[in-house]
C-alpha cells in the first residue's frame, strides 16, 4: 500500500480521519474531545481534495477510533473515511454510517432540560421524518429538534 495515496504525512500507527468537509475539522476536534488526549495529533485544514474541493484531515497517533465514534462522525461529515494505519501500512478503511443514537457530544437546545446539569451526559435518538429529513430527539426532555438546530 502506497502511503502517499492517503494525502497525509505518514504516521506509523493510529487513525486518519480523511475527507472531512473544510471548516468542520476543527469542530470535530473539540466535539470528540480529541484535544483532551495526550496522543500526538496532526491536523490539516483546507487541503486540496478531488472529491470535496477542499477538505480537512485529522491524524491521531496510537489511537484506533471505536465503531461508535466513527459512526458519530457521520453526523457532521457524512463522506468522511477513517483509515487505520499500522507500521505505516493501511490496515483498515471504514465508511461511517449514521448511528441510531448519539451520546455525550451534543447539547440539548432546550434550556430547561435536565441534561444540562447534574453532570449527566446527553443522549439523542435519530428520528426519520416523512420528508426523509432527520430529527434528533433528546432522550431526557423528549423534545425533537431538526438536525441543524442541535448541530449549530
Amino acid at each position: 500500500m502506497q502511503i502517499n495515496k492517503l494525502q497525509v504525512e505518514a504516521i506509523k500507527c493510529g487513525s486518519v480521519i480523511d475527507h472531512i468537509p473544510s471548516q468542520i475539522g476543527f469542530k470535530l476536534l473539540s466535539l470528540f474531545r480529541f484535544t483532551e488526549t495526550e496522543k500526538r495529533i496532526t491536523i490539516g485544514l483546507n487541503l486540496p481534495s478531488q472529491k470535496l474541493g477542499k477538505k480537512d484531515i485529522i491524524k491521531i497517533e496510537n489511537t484506533f477510533l471505536s465503531a461508535d465514534q466513527i459512526n458519530q462522525l457521520a453526523i457532521y461529515s457524512p463522506c468522511a473515511t477513517v483509515n487505520y494505519i499500522d507500521q505505516y501500512n493501511l490496515v483498515g478503511k471504514i465508511f461511517p454510517t449514521l448511528p441510531k443514537k448519539i451520546d455525550r457530544i451534543l447539547i440539548c437546545p432546550n434550556s430547561n432540560c435536565i441534561s444540562h446539569n447534574n453532570c449527566i451526559t446527553s443522549s439523542f435518538l435519530f428520528i426519520k421524518k416523512l420528508d426523509n429529513n432527520m430529527n434528533l430527539k433528546c432522550q431526557y426532555c423528549e423534545k425533537e429538534f431538526s438536525k441543524n438546530i442541535v448541530l449549530s
Binding site: N112, I114, N117, N118, K129, L130, K143
Partner: protein, 310 residues
C-alpha cells in the same frame, strides 16, 4: 394476562404499549368498583415534589393510602435541606431509593424523571410531571375517563382547545390516542399557541386526520370529547389575548348543538376558560375526571409494584 408493567418506570406515556395502557384502564375500572385497600400493605412510597403541585400530590397520596401503603416525602423542593445543600438530583434519588419501594417525582425540569430512574437502583419511578414534558398519570386518567364515558378509545372525534403549544396534557393525550384507529382531532388555539409540528407529524405517520379550526361552535355538533385547557395570559401579547378570550372560552349557550354523548374535560385548575354555567350541563365532566385520577393512579401503582393481578 401477563403484567408487563411490573417493576417498570412510568416516565412517559410514549413508553407504554397499547396493551399496557389497556391493562391500566382495566385495573382502574376494577379498583373503582371494588376498592382493594390491602394491595400495597407494607410498602413505603416516597412522594418527592421538588416543586409544589398540590392537586397532583394529594391525588397520588390518596391513591397510595387507599392501597394501604405508607408514604414519606416532601411537598416543595425549596423548603427541604436537599435543595439548600446543593445535592444533585441523582444523589438525592440514589439515597431515597434505599429507603422505599417506589418513588413519585415532580420536578420543574424536563427529563428529570428519566434521570431519576437512572439513579434509583431499580426502584420504580413514577413521573408526576417533569417541567413541560410528561405527566403520564394525567394521560392515564384522561384515557380512563374517555373510555368510561364513550365505551371506546377509537373512532372518536376529539377537540382540543386552548394552549396546544405548551400544554403537555394535550400533547400526551394526543400521542396516546394516536395508538388507536380512526380517531380524528380538531385543534383550536391562538396562532401563537398551535400544536407543535412533531405531534402533527406523529398523527400523519399513524394515518390519523387532524384539522385546525377557528372556534368551538363550528365543530360542536361533530365531537365526542371537548378537551379544554387554559391559555396563560403571559404566553400572548395583549391584543392576541383579548381575541383569544372570546374565541376560546366555553359558555353553555355554545353547547346547544352538542351530541348527547359529548363530555367536556379539563386537566384543572380552570381559571375562566369554562364558564360556571357549563358546570350545570350534562356535558361537564371535569370534576369526575379529576376524581378518576385516584383510580388510575391506584391502578398504575399496584401494577408496577405487584406482579400477579389477574
Amino acid at each position: 394476562m401477563r403484567n408487563s408493567l411490573y417493576k417498570k418506570n412510568i416516565i412517559s406515556i410514549n413508553d407504554l404499549q397499547r396493551n399496557e395502557l389497556e391493562l391500566v384502564l382495566k385495573k382502574s375500572a376494577i379498583l373503582k368498583k371494588q376498592p382493594a385497600p390491602n394491595l400495597l400493605k407494607n410498602k413505603i412510597i416516597a412522594s418527592c415534589f421538588f416543586e409544589a403541585s398540590t392537586r397532583t400530590r394529594l391525588s397520588f397520596e390518596t391513591a397510595v393510602y387507599r392501597l394501604g401503603a405508607s408514604i414519606i416525602g416532601f411537598s416543595d423542593g425549596n423548603n427541604i435541606s436537599l435543595g439548600k445543600k446543593g445535592e444533585t438530583l441523582a444523589d438525592t434519588i440514589s439515597v431515597i431509593s434505599s429507603y422505599v419501594d417506589a418513588i413519585i417525582i415532580r420536578h420543574p425540569q424536563e427529563g428529570s424523571a428519566r434521570l431519576a430512574a437512572e439513579f434509583s437502583n431499580n426502584i420504580p419511578v413514577f413521573n408526576a410531571g417533569d417541567g413541560s414534558n410528561q405527566h403520564p398519570t394525567q394521560t392515564l386518567l384522561d384515557l380512563f375517563t374517555i373510555q368510561e364515558t364513550q365505551n371506546r378509545l377509537n373512532d372518536l372525534n376529539i377537540a382540543m382547545v386552548g394552549d396546544l403549544k405548551y400544554g403537555r396534557t394535550v400533547h400526551s393525550l394526543t400521542q396516546a390516542l394516536a395508538k388507536y384507529k380512526k380517531n380524528k382531532f380538531f385543534f383550536i388555539s391562538p396562532d401563537a399557541l398551535k400544536m407543535p409540528n412533531y405531534i402533527n407529524d406523529t398523527l400523519l405517520e399513524n394515518g390519523i386526520s387532524w384539522i385546525r379550526c377557528q372556534n368551538i361552535e363550528e365543530i360542536i355538533s361533530e365531537i365526542d370529547i371537548l378537551y379544554m385547557t387554559r391559555v396563560q395570559k403571559e404566553r400572548l401579547d395583549s391584543t392576541e389575548y383579548a381575541n383569544a378570550k372570546s374565541k376560546f372560552i366555553l359558555h353553555s349557550k355554545m353547547l346547544k348543538n352538542a351530541r348527547s354523548n359529548l363530555k367536556i374535560l379539563h386537566p384543572l385548575p380552570r381559571i375562566d376558560e369554562i364558564d360556571h354555567d357549563v358546570d350545570y350541563t350534562p356535558y361537564a365532566w371535569y370534576f369526575k375526571q379529576a376524581a378518576n385520577g385516584i383510580y388510575a393512579r391506584q391502578a398504575i401503582l399496584s401494577l408496577v409494584l405487584i406482579e400477579n393481578h389477574f
